[in-house]
Structures are given as structure tokens and as C-alpha cells.
């Protein structure tokens, strides 16, 4: 494995990753996929390493995915969440960092509702930091697992037409994915109702359209975003029924995409709102593969960061 490509001690966002670094993560993840198929799903790679999972915002699937990845790598892990931790609102970043430092972790996985908190903590921490989602800013491991899934299915990312549809304004998934997929050479379009688009959406780096049909025309990949039902207070759409009517992905609408298009979703899905069950459960869907691949990609990230931080090159998958 060429160690020269990967020098980072933190994974904070896709924004700072080069194409070579992204590909290196994906290549590394390939070697971890088969661990899940073993009778004993465990490798000794991170034995003796301590990983703290610090979730300031509720998360089930991302935190579980990281936890499984850590356990399969034989790391010692511990989980803090806002409900079970005094590390929470009101504490200064410096105090949070000092408290973590006192436990001498090798890696800290951070999810926070506010943008750039993982970045701010990384500046104050000696241990490596993985951003597991910071507000609507970045979610780099999600983008990497999505790219990994696309590459496994399609054999490449470059040149593919990819549509990402939904609540673009409030989605960290879309931000990281646009950065990641465009850096890998894909042709990315984002779409959603105007009330769910941020100001100057083109600045995200993708083509912007305002209809689902237009977005998925000839697409190789259609990625549906979860509608944040809790944000309905902001009056972004009048009803779930109307959302489904105009922005829900149905089998009928899917005909506009390429015949071999795949359907993705970061989960959890809202059936009958952004995606029809027939699509989510249909042959196009790779939603569960995303979940499975998430573990392998996170194993790869943990492995690369632990190696970079310790300067050890004896780690092998």
C-alpha cells in the first residue's frame, strides 16, 4: 500500500481531499469488504488503539457503522452521546478538547449539529479526528461510501451522470457528495424545490435544476435525499403528499433515467415521501449496499488515519 498518498491525521471534509486521496480511501476499502464475509469478522489492525465516538447529535446508523468498523478492526471504542455525556452544549471547545485529550484516544469520531465543530476540535486535539457530520456542512465518510458504492456497481465514477434530489439546503450529504463526485469526474446535478435550495446553489459546484424529471433525465445514478420532516416548521413544503407528487421518485418517473441507473439514499428513507417503496425495494436500489459498504469505507478511514497519526507502517488490513 503506497503510504505516500495518505498523510492526513484527520478526515474533516471532502473539500480538502485530492482525487488521489479519495481514490486511495476507496482502494483501501476494497480490501476490507471481505472481512464482513468471514466467519470471524475481526482483524487485529487497530488492536490497542482507542477510538472515542462523540455524538453531540442523535445518530443511529452512522454511529453504529463506525462502531462496527472499529470493533472489526479490534480497536477499543467508547461512545459518548449528548444523552449520556456531560460533554455537551455550553462547554467551551477547549474544555471539550482537554477532557478528550485526558483520555488519550488515538482517534475521535465527532458528529455535531453545528458546522465546523470537528474542524475546531481537530485544531485543539493531538489525536486524529473524523468528521461524522457537522451540521449541514460535510459528511465525508458518507460521500466516500457513496462513491465506493457507485464505483463497485458501475466500475467507475468518471463521466457518470449523477442526480442528487431533495432538501439541498439542509443536507450535509449533498455538500460532501458534490465535492467528492465532481472531483472524481462525474457530471453532477442537484435538484429540489426552490424552498429547499440554498442561496446561490451553483456555488456548491454542481448543475442546478428545479425539477426531478429534468434532474434524472439520462442519469446513471439517482441519489435521493431524506426529507427532513422536522424542518417542516420552516414551511419548505406544504405537505408530504405534495412533496411526493412533485419530487418523489416513482418507478414511472425513473424511466427517464438510464435503464441501468442505480438508486441511492443515505437513509433513513421516508417511504412514500421522497421515494416510492417500489423504487426503494426495486432492482435498481443499492441502498442496503451503501450501508454494508459504509462499514468497509469507515474501516479504511480508521486504518489510514491511525497509521498516519502513529507513523506506524506495520498496520495491515
Amino acid at each position: 500500500m503506497s503510504e505516500a498518498v495518505w498523510q492526513r491525521g484527520d478526515l474533516l471534509g471532502v473539500a480538502e481531499l485530492s482525487q488521489a486521496e479519495i481514490l486511495h480511501v476507496l482502494d483501501t476499502a476494497e480490501s476490507f469488504v471481505e472481512v464482513a464475509a468471514r466467519p470471524i469478522k475481526k482483524v487485529p489492525t487497530l488492536r490497542g488503539k482507542t477510538v472515542i465516538n462523540l455524538f453531540f447529535e442523535a445518530s443511529t446508523r452512522t454511529s453504529s457503522s463506525f462502531e462496527i468498523a472499529e470493533k472489526r478492526l479490534s480497536a477499543d471504542n467508547i461512545n459518548f452521546s449528548t444523552s449520556s455525556s456531560s460533554l455537551s452544549k455550553g462547554e467551551t471547545l477547549l474544555d471539550t478538547a482537554r477532557n478528550l485529550e485526558a483520555m488519550a484516544p488515538d482517534l475521535v469520531v465527532i458528529r455535531h449539529a453545528h458546522p465546523r465543530v470537528p474542524h475546531a476540535l481537530a485544531e485543539r486535539l493531538a489525536s486524529g479526528v473524523i468528521n461524522a457530520g457537522d451540521g449541514a456542512h460535510e459528511h465525508p465518510t458518507q460521500a466516500l461510501l457513496d462513491a465506493f458504492t457507485i464505483r463497485r456497481r458501475k466500475g467507475r465514477v468518471e463521466g457518470l451522470k449523477i442526480a442528487i434530489v431533495g432538501d439541498v439546503a439542509h443536507s450535509r450529504v449533498v455538500r460532501s457528495n458534490v465535492l467528492c463526485l465532481t472531483r472524481l469526474g462525474a457530471d453532477v446535478t442537484v435538484a429540489g424545490p426552490r424552498t429547499m435550495m440554498p442561496e446561490e446553489p451553483e456555488s456548491l459546484g454542481a448543475r442546478v435544476v428545479y425539477s426531478l424529471e429534468e434532474a434524472i433525465e439520462g442519469a446513471d445514478v439517482v441519489m435521493m435525499l431524506r426529507v427532513q420532516l422536522e424542518r417542516q416548521a420552516r414551511a419548505a413544503f406544504p405537505s408530504e403528499r405534495e412533496y411526493f407528487e412533485f419530487f418523489g421518485l416513482t418507478a414511472e418517473r425513473l424511466r427517464r433515467a438510464n435503464d441501468d441507473a442505480i438508486i441511492m439514499h443515505p437513509g433513513p428513507i421516508n417511504r412514500g415521501i421522497e421515494i416510492a417503496s417500489e423504487v426503494a425495494d426495486g432492482p435498481w436500489s443499492v441502498i442496503l449496499e451503501q450501508v454494508a459498504n459504509g462499514v468497509a469505507v469507515r474501516m479504511a478511514v480508521l486504518y489510514l488515519l491511525a497509521g498516519a497519526k502513529s507513523g506506524e507502517d506495520g498496520l495491515t488490513p
Binding site: 455535531h112 453545528h114 474542524h119 475546531a120 460535510e138 440554498p198 442561496e199 446561490e200
Partner: protein, 429 residues
């Protein structure tokens, strides 16, 4: 605060006398008694050598937060006015969002007493428009005026109710008090923490659209037309707000506005580039480059009346929170003058006389307070400026109790060299 001083050999810049040239200024009994070249020595007047310095009417920062009473851990009237003196200000107007709120004449009297005790600069309290800043009932404008309040404002919050704003504009006319508005339509600013634009989009940060300010300014100006009240727009930040102010003024309304130095010099791109440093968080937020450019034009063409710092001290621990969680506001008393000298005057955006108008004459006129001129009979308040002095902004050296500035490390040319308040030379060290 009264004393006698003869300031000799400086270059006097005073837009009220259309004066820019070598002159001496004599202050006796707290007031200017003579201003002109080659004044004879006056008995009992202390002489100040101003050779190589610019001598201007004492600068007035018409928008500061001194935090006393209630949040003395951020700032006190003593430390805040010391910062004012260090930054070249002889007077500050302080906002009423203290704890308790300045919604009673006893608070105004307390602030004035504390200012007198400190003795670094004049303090002009601004009374709350509404009790406890709750936006429901008016405070006693008349009693506040008598106690020394110079304006009314709910700054920190908008006067949200159109009905209350209408009554405030009407009632303040009895006492010739300006109503200073923090224009923000809360339904539009929502949970926003930075300007809504391409940079908030890239960061996934909740934005505050420019429309949040503009909608409120627009409403207020209709009420000004309706009531004939006197309205001052605080910390204007958008191009549209400026256009609205221009139109109201052309229509003959009694409307004035101020901008903060940071809105003239920084944009939302700086917030982005800072990596969401809480020292770049304030309200209104740093706006787009187009807004910033429009404000700079407004300065040059005379549409903007005043520059104020919106000095808003916060304890370092509060700015150690992340960007979203940290409070709004930055300190400005010790940076505003140097920023204006280096980035506006030296760059040719405005000349020195115009800067004096923005930082002294206009604030005095808007607030109806002494100062703003060195013509005989004016208050004996003077700021001495060294145009050549090079300074590097170093928060560790601030006299303010707080350190929250986005300008740390900026190298600036031009700084205050001293102040005289009521004929008394202020000595900081």
C-alpha cells in the same frame, strides 16, 4: 470635566469651520475659546505640543455596549471608556441592553456617575424604547431625557411591533430624541448565524438574508413618513437598506444612518476564510462584497452619516464556543480609528475632513450632544491623531476587558495619539 489647555502646532481638521491647516486650539473652562494659527500663550493653560499631529474635534462613537451594570465580566464603564480613550474617542453612546436594562432614569444616572468616576471619556446613555426590551410598553422618554439619555433604542433586538415603533416615533418627538433601530425582521433572520449567500451555502450554515434588514427598514421608513419622527438606522449592512435611506432622505424624512467599520472592510467571504471563527460573528452579519461595496460608495457620496464601532465585548470563554453557539458581536473601540485611517482615508475612499464628520460632527448632531466642532464655544473635546504611526492590532494590549476582534494581526498606519475631554488631557498610563 473642565480644564484649560492650549494645543499647539498641529494640523487642525474641522469640517464645521472648513478648516484644514496649521492652527492652535485653546480650551478654557472646558470649552474651546479660540482656534486659529499662532495663538498667544494663555495663562494657566497647559500647553500640548501637537507638532506632526492632526487635531480634530473629539471623536464620538455613537454605538457601543459597555455591559455595566450586569455583565461586568465582559466590560465595565471604566474599562470600556478607557478603551474609548485609547482608540481616540472622547465620548461614547452606550446601548441600554444591560442587566438590568436601562429602562429607568436611575440606570442612566448610575451610568453617568460611573463614567464621571472613571473619567476617561464622556458617556451618553441611550435609553430603552421598551421596558425590559420586551417590545410592549414604552419607557419614560421624558424622564430619561432629563436624566441625560440622548436617544432611545432597543438595540440588540428590533422594535418589532409596528404599533410600538409608530408610538415611539411619535412620542420621541416631544423630546427631540432619535429612535435608533436595530432593523431585523426576526421571522426572516430565524436561526441564521451568517449572511445568506454563496458562502453560507457552501458551509451549510443557516443564513440571514439581507431582506431581514431591508424589510424592517422599509417598514420603519413608512412609519417615519407617517409620524414625522426622527429615525436613526443602526449598523446598516445592505445595499438595499442604503437605497431605502437615500429615498427617504430625498423625500425629506428625518432619517440618519450609521455603519460599522467591520461592515465596510469585511464580507461573508472573510467568515468563510476564517473557518467560522466566532470573532467574525456579529449582527447584522458581514454581508456580501456587493453590499460592502455599496456601503463604501455611500460613505464617499455622503449618504451615510456616521461610522460607529458597535463595540460589543464578550468574554474569551464565550468566543471559545463554536461559531453557532457563540454570542454575536466584536469589540471595536480600539480598532475603528486606525482601520478608517488606513483602509478608507489612506486609500482615498474619503478624506480626513469627511472622516471627522463621520466620527465626530455627525454623531454630535444626531445625538444632540456637545462636540463635533472646534469652533469657539464648542465643548473642549479634542482627538490627536498620528497619521504616520504604524500599529499592529494585538488584542492582548486592549484596554477593553474583552478580546473579540476579527482584526487581530492587521497592520495599520495611523492611530490616536491622545484625547482631551473638556480641556483635560487624558493620560492613560
Amino acid at each position: 470635566m473642565s480644564g484649560s489647555v492650549l494645543i499647539r502646532g498641529g494640523r487642525v481638521v474641522d469640517p464645521t469651520q472648513e478648516l484644514d491647516g496649521p492652527a492652535d486650539v485653546l480650551i478654557e473652562g472646558g470649552s474651546v475659546t479660540a482656534c486659529g494659527p499662532g495663538l498667544p500663550a494663555a495663562e494657566s493653560a497647559r500647553e500640548v505640543d501637537a507638532a506632526g499631529l492632526v487635531v480634530v474635534p473629539g471623536l464620538i462613537d455613537m454605538h457601543v455596549h459597555l455591559r455595566e451594570p450586569g455583565q461586568e465580566y465582559k466590560e465595565t464603564i471604566d474599562t470600556g471608556t478607557r478603551a474609548a480613550a485609547a482608540g481616540g474617542f472622547t465620548a461614547v453612546a452606550c446601548m441600554p441592553n444591560t442587566d438590568p436594562v436601562n429602562d429607568d432614569p436611575s440606570l442612566t444616572e448610575f451610568m453617568l456617575k460611573q463614567a464621571e468616576r472613571a473619567g476617561w471619556a464622556r458617556v451618553y446613555p441611550i435609553a430603552a424604547v421598551s421596558r425590559r426590551l420586551e417590545g410592549r410598553e414604552l419607557t419614560e422618554f421624558g424622564a430619561q431625557r432629563r436624566s441625560g439619555a440622548v436617544a432611545v433604542s432597543d438595540d440588540g433586538r428590533p422594535v418589532w411591533s409596528a404599533a410600538l415603533m409608530r408610538q415611539a416615533l411619535r412620542y420621541a418627538r416631544h423630546f427631540d430624541l432619535p429612535v435608533i433601530q436595530h432593523a431585523e425582521e426576526l421571522a426572516l433572520s430565524g436561526d441564521g448565524v451568517m449572511h445568506e449567500g454563496r458562502f453560507s451555502t457552501r458551509l451549510g450554515v443557516e443564513g440571514i438574508p439581507g431582506a431581514a434588514d431591508d424589510v424592517m427598514v422599509s417598514r420603519d421608513l413608512l412609519l417615519v413618513a407617517d409620524t414625522g419622527g426622527r429615525y436613526h438606522l443602526a449598523h446598516m449592512s445592505t445595499a438595499r437598506s442604503l437605497d431605502l435611506i437615500r429615498a427617504a432622505r430625498a423625500d425629506g424624512q428625518r432619517v440618519t444612518c450609521e455603519v460599522s467599520a467591520h461592515h465596510l472592510l469585511l464580507t461573508d467571504e472573510d467568515v468563510f476564510d476564517s473557518g467560522l471563527d466566532p470573532n467574525f460573528k456579529m449582527h447584522p452579519p458581514l454581508r456580501s462584497a456587493a453590499d460592502r461595496d455599496a456601503l463604501v460608495l455611500g460613505l464617499a457620496d455622503g449618504s451615510i452619516d456616521a461610522i460607529a464601532s458597535d463595540h460589543a465585548p464578550h468574554h474569551p470563554d464565550e468566543k471559545e464556543l463554536d461559531f453557532v453557539a457563540s454570542p454575536n458581536g466584536i469589540v471595536g473601540l480600539e480598532t475603528t480609528l486606525s482601520l478608517c485611517l488606513d483602509r478608507l482615508v489612506a486609500k482615498g475612499v474619503i478624506d480626513l475632513a469627511r472622516l471627522v464628520d463621520l466620527l465626530s460632527t455627525a454623531p454630535a448632531r444626531i445625538l444632540g450632544v456637545a462636540g463635533g466642532s472646534l469652533a469657539p464655544g464648542s465643548a473642549g473635546d479634542v482627538t490627536l491623531i498620528d497619521l504616520e504611526r504604524e500599529v499592529e492590532v494585538d488584542p492582548a494590549t486592549f484596554r477593553s476587558r474583552s478580546r473579540n476582534t476579527p482584526f487581530a494581526g492587521w497592520k495599520l498606519r495611523g492611530a490616536a495619539a491622545g484625547t482631551v475631554v473638556g480641556g483635560r488631557l487624558i493620560e492613560l498610563s
